[in-house]
Subunit: 415 residues, 2 copies
């Protein structure tokens, strides 16, 4: 399409934006070919029309994501690297703060975390269809940060390595009763049952995921050991030796943390122990408008400080925190590559705009883990008065040397 | 001394106190031999006079510690176990909260954390004389939580194991510039220089400790590699690859954490990394009145939530948190045993009341680590945008297998 020449004030404005976001090593090109930005750039952001530039002023996050999805913004060069450079510049200028919603963002009330709101948020993202996720997740449909114990691991291996890493931290032993809050398609629950001889009750409010998980449990004859329950984490009952949650806390909402803590406190035995694996932040701030609107309504990755509201009200002991953000950056990069390999199929299932939106989401996720904005925390905890906790982590790493991911994977293959 | 018979209300009161602190598995005996409490008790608390009972109502923490120091309260049975049972009962009834000062405690303004107040607090405890600490600390005078990597380690070995554990977490390499905030008698600074080839600037405001550290550095010909500076952590200047602080944060005061964070942010290089080792809590609450008055004026072990105020304002990434509270319980137990072995000598240096006061402090410290009240956190951090951070902790534990504490100790012996 033929577009008018950019005006002087527009060119000056773009330069000011580039400076304001910390002079990142990227270039910005306008619809008429005018370019500003770094001399040595990793890539170029191309703004295809004047209206998009104006929208970037109004709400940068929303306009950038929407612009990319509609093709009004394009990125030339390696997508993750360009976004990382852009975000890193922003991080350096703001240190992640002040973390306030834009004034335009404040106009909209965000979705809360009541039972029905949580249900609706989860449905929005996780019920896009198992066929969609099968295209680009690993074979077991694990939709959380993998653990690249060795850098050369495949995605499937790294997901299993993550499972075993958590199981070792939790010192699972045969007969333990485990409750899993937010179980996705059930891979971790089945892994624990299959490889560690534990009994698992796994909770989820995504109906599509649960149907898949139950079917798989039956097929693998683990349905006596693993029960999949369609209910919210607030409805967990029973008594358990272990509480574990991988990739759910992001959706819980910080105001609900004391409620989650009460659930844990209520269902854990005297020597009970637990682990929460979640996306987090160095500095508390709300999710950006675009991700909240298009990808994860109501999601809120917490800072460690916020996360302590799960544990402090019940005086629980935090035993171990590990930050695995580089692993999530890599996981998202691999997902993006696999997604790109199946872009034509995704376009068939949805449309081209959906494809671009999800490319942006996966690439931007990787970039936020590389640029300071997002972290991945594994937080291990126990009751304060439990003196049977392990003294060191030596056993976690000794066992890691003895039992490789290949053992777990061959157990899976023979099932 | 002949004491009057206990009155009915006094006997009832004691029973109510025992119930209020959670019916711990101990007994309480009054001056006339009246006993109440658990049937199966680990030991007995003996209140020698009516006035002490009344004082326990007024301010339990102060009266209990003072009563023990003056001999008006005695404990029959294993000291640490009796106190652990007592504290554990209290923990279970309060979960560490509400953590408010007693109303009587509020009458006194506590010492703050200005430069001069910190100086005075440190002087109160750490300048009791090197000869005193030499009696019961290990040979290197390390006055922080040891690391019992293997349960059978001696105190001296466990202190060296702690040093190496921290050095491995920090991935020290030859030539690194390290700043240590609060260096005690200098053992860790010298250890890092001797075994890892780093340059250390170590800060302290205890003059007695510094004199000792400097003399030792000269004797061991490490004075070109290690500089001991008499200054407060707020006065740290220069540029460093590593920031480390072992056992200082307890004295900093939570309101000063953003200031400490600013120091770290100012002096750390782009790929700088750091670790803070500190006593902490599961739930924020002020120090008890007795410890504040007699042992550590101004001390404030933080909850993890409070501790995040060091890092969040600068968007630093917490990479690793390890809770080593059982190690500190054991360290205090060993210190107490060694202290008891030299009680006669301590009585000569001070007096009998000082001996009892310190016995109570060391035993109660061990008990607080065993009963939920105190934790020991090692918090490792880095800048948010540093993507050169290690991916896993595998190397920390692989190196631990290769390099034993015996290597470090023989390096020390040959020096």
């Amino acid at each position: 399409m033929a577009m008018r020449t950019s005006r002087l004030w527009e060119r000056q404005l773009v330069r000011r934006i580039w400076e304001a976001v910390g002079r990142p090593s990227i270039q910005i090109e306008l619809w008429d070919g005018d370019v500003c930005g770094a001399d040595r750039a990793v890539g170029r952001i191309i703004i295809r029309e004047p209206k998009t530039l104006r929208r970037l002023l109004w709400n940068p996050s929303l306009a950038f994501g929407e612009g990319f999805a509609t093709g009004r913004i394009e990125i030339a060069g390696p997508l993750i690297e360009v976004l990382t450079a852009l975000f890193r510049g922003q991080w350096e200028t703001t240190k992640g703060g002040p973390g306030q919603k834009t004034w335009t963002g404040r106009l909209f009330r965000r979705r809360g975390h009541s039972l029905t709101e949580s249900q609706s948020s989860v449905h929005h993202h996780y019920d896009l269809g198992n066929d969609f996720y099968k295209l680009w997740l690993d074979e077991q449909l694990v939709y959380t940060c993998a653990y690249y114990q060795q850098p050369e691991l495949s995605l499937a291996h790294a997901q299993v390595a993550k499972f075993d890493h958590i199981c070792r931290k939790l010192r699972l032993k045969p007969g333990d009763r485990v409750v899993e809050a937010g179980c996705g398609w059930g891979a971790f629950a089945l892994h624990m049952a299959r490889n560690y001889g534990v009994k698992v009750r796994a909770y989820n409010i995504s109906r599509e995921q649960l149907a898949y998980a139950r079917e798989r449990a039956r097929r693998e004859q683990l349905d006596a050991q693993v029960e999949f329950v369609e209910a919210d984490y607030r409805q967990i009952d029973g008594e358990y030796d272990v509480f574990v949650s991988v990739g759910m806390l992001e959706h819980v909402g910080v105001e609900q943390y004391p409620a989650l803590g009460s659930v844990i406190n209520r269902v854990l035995t005297e020597h009970g122990r637990g682990l929460i694996h979640t996306i987090g932040r160095n500095v508390a701030r709300p999710l950006d408008d675009w991700t909240d609107r298009y990808i994860f309504p109501g999601a809120e990755p917490p800072s460690l400080k916020q996360m302590m509201d799960v544990f402090e009200p019940h005086g629980m002991s935090v035993l171990d925190v590990e930050n695995l953000r580089l692993h999530y950056a890599e996981t998202c990069r691999v997902w993006l590559n696999r997604f790109d390999d199946h872009a034509a199929k995704v376009a068939e299932m949805f449309d081209e705009q959906f494809v671009r939106m999800w490319r942006f989401y996966l690439a931007a996720s990787s970039a936020t883990f590389l640029s300071g904005f997002l972290q991945l925390f594994q937080v291990q905890f126990a009751r304060a008065v439990d003196n049977t906790i392990p003294w060191t982590r030596d056993d976690v790493y000794r066992q890691a040397q003895r039992r490789s991911v290949h053992d777990s994977l061959s157990a899976l293959a023979h099932n």
